[in-house]
């Protein structure tokens, strides 16, 4: 394991301190927690937006804290959901009297810990609502199973619910728009190389030199299917096809596209993938409203990428374009 770290068991603490040190005017650390909040929080009268999850997905989630996006992000251990007490601290730190909205990625751990925090907060008299993001079409959706994972599409939920709250939306309105994004966003990922959890010390799985994994999540877990490595065009085609297959994107609405790098993929390669994705969408008559290429939701130093499509209506367009001060999503 080659990493620029001090103690493998202290990476999250060190990172959180390094983040506050980077943006002292914008961020504050809620004392004795792994919660990073807007410096000016709680913003009175505004719905607070809280997200978070395991660490290792940087810039998610603290990079999205800022005016117009998240009010606080809770950092768990690497790939491990934060505990209910931490989430509760975040909720309390950002409650400006109009309630708090949680953006949860659909993992058993995140759902349980955030739900417990919501119960604790309600018990303290804070209104809490939440949405569970499950954009990963690699995983079958079923009410009898864990269901789909939340991956890169989550960033759109952050952006849009954050903008809604900033524009004065009520807790109910924020929840509605959050659910609208979740209903309209789908993603699919792949990987060429695994990653190593610092405290584990060894890679999460092995891949041969000519193999790739299709249907990867963002926790270094193996994918759904192992295949011979393909060209960028073929990869773009496969990922996009899976997404398009799952939701009808051709019904006259525009889409937002995100080509997300998982950590080690050179940006050059993300643009090469984007080239083909855009061609495919053009062929299908789908109009692209806005494209995002970069590292938005990573899995440490995993090599790979994901393709996310979000179907937009006028409300979502306006909110997507609204101002954001978050270091990792300025607009």
């Amino acid at each position: 394991m080659k990493k620029i770290i001090n103690d493998p068991n202290q990476v999250v603490q060190d990172m959180v301190q390094g983040m506050v040190a980077a943006y002292p005017e914008a961020l504050k650390q809620v004392p004795e927690t792994m919660v990073l909040a807007r410096k000016d929080s709680p913003v009175q009268g505004k719905v607070g937006i809280v997200s978070g999850g395991g660490s290792g997905h940087e810039p998610a989630h603290a990079g999205y804290v800022g005016k117009g996006m998240l009010d606080a992000a809770v950092a768990g251990e690497v790939f491990t959901s934060p505990t209910p007490d931490q989430v509760l601290e975040a909720i309390k730190a950002v409650d400006g009297g109009s309630g708090v909205f949680l953006v949860i990625k659909n993992y058993t751990g995140d759902v349980i810990n955030f739900e417990m925090a919501a119960e604790l907060a309600e018990a303290e008299g804070i209104d809490v609502q939440y949405v569970v993001v499950n954009d990963d079409v690699a995983v079958e959706d079923s009410s009898f199973t864990t269901g789909r994972r939340g991956i890169a599409g989550t960033v759109f939920v952050h952006k849009i619910t954050g903008a809604k709250a900033e524009s004065g939306g009520s807790l109910t309105e924020v929840k509605q728009v959050g659910e609208k994004v979740v209903a309209n966003v789908r993603s699919m990922g792949m990987a060429l190389k695994p990653c190593t959890v610092p405290a584990a010390g060894s890679p999460s799985f092995e891949l041969k030199d000519d193999e790739m994994e299709i249907g990867i999540g963002i926790h270094g877990e193996p994918g759904i299917e192992r295949k011979e490595i393909a060209s960028a065009d073929q990869i773009a085609e496969e990922l996009t096809a899976k997404v398009l297959q799952d939701l009808d994107y051709t019904t006259g609405e525009d889409v937002a596209v995100m080509i997300n790098g998982l950590g080690s993929t050179p940006e050059m390669e993300l643009y090469i993938v984007n080239k083909r994705v855009q061609e495919i969408l053009k062929e299908k008559g789908i109009t692209v409203y806005k494209t995002f290429v970069g590292e938005y939701m990573t899995a440490l130093e995993m090599t790979g990428c994901s393709v996310t499509l979000l179907k937009l209506d006028d409300e979502l367009k306006t909110l997507l374009d609204a101002d954001s001060d978050a270091p990792a999503f300025r607009s």
Partner: protein, 206 residues
């Protein structure tokens, strides 16, 4: 025979010992069908539990169990933290008041724990989760009249091994569908260590 404060504390120390020892193994189990942190999570959590319960003094077993629950809940995270935490919280509530926990009270507590975990995790037996150790253990206990070290550890062990052939529908392993088969569920393995630790301390007492 019943469980007193000291026995619960010993149980937790023994559990921690096993979690530290098997930290790499549990992580290895979590890599093919999870995210490779289960050993790290359990080792971190039970180390905190040991630190906590050896520092405090307690009146009743329920007090120890409550601290165990709260510690796991606030120090582990992930899926396993709140689920183990819930189990201990239910167990604590079930045995509340007693200075020594009778066999019947303990069996009832484990039943409550299983119900709590199932509810929190929305999981049933057979879905390749820790429920698949807790539930068989609970069933086996109701068949017995008193604490039997061997039954406890053997049932847990067998149950853990049975998860190998199961198809996961809950937790991260569910993402792998068929491919989840052939791997022991990590949370079932750590649950086995927990019950084996209880079995060990019961043997030491005997």
């Amino acid at each position: 025979m019943g469980l007193d404060v000291q026995l619960i504390v010993d149980w937790m120390k023994k559990t921690n010992e096993k979690m530290q020892e098997n930290k790499p193994y549990l992580t290895t189990l979590d890599q093919p069908i999870g995210d490779g942190d289960h050993g790290i999570n359990m080792a971190r959590g039970f180390q905190e539990v040991e630190n906590k319960v050896t520092k405090e003094t307690y009146e009743t077993p329920a007090d120890v169990l409550k601290d165990v629950a709260m510690t796991l809940m606030s120090k582990v995270g992930g899926a396993s933290g709140p689920l183990f935490g819930t189990a201990f919280l239910k167990l604590s509530t079930a045995v509340k008041g007693a200075e020594t926990v009778s066999y019947e009270a303990f069996v009832n507590g484990i039943e409550q724990a299983v119900a709590g975990v199932k509810q929190r995790g929305k999981a049933e037996a057979g879905e390749k989760t820790m429920v698949d150790v807790w539930y068989p253990v609970s069933e086996a206990l109701t068949e017995e009249q008193d604490f039997t070290a061997e039954v406890l550890s053997e049932t847990a062990k067998q149950a853990m091994e049975n998860t190998k052939d199961m198809l996961a529908t809950k937790g991260r392993a569910a993402y792998f569908k068929d491919k989840s088969q052939g791997h022991i569920d990590p949370g079932s393995a750590s649950s086995f260590y927990l019950f084996e630790a209880l079995s060990d301390v019961l043997k030491e007492r005997a």
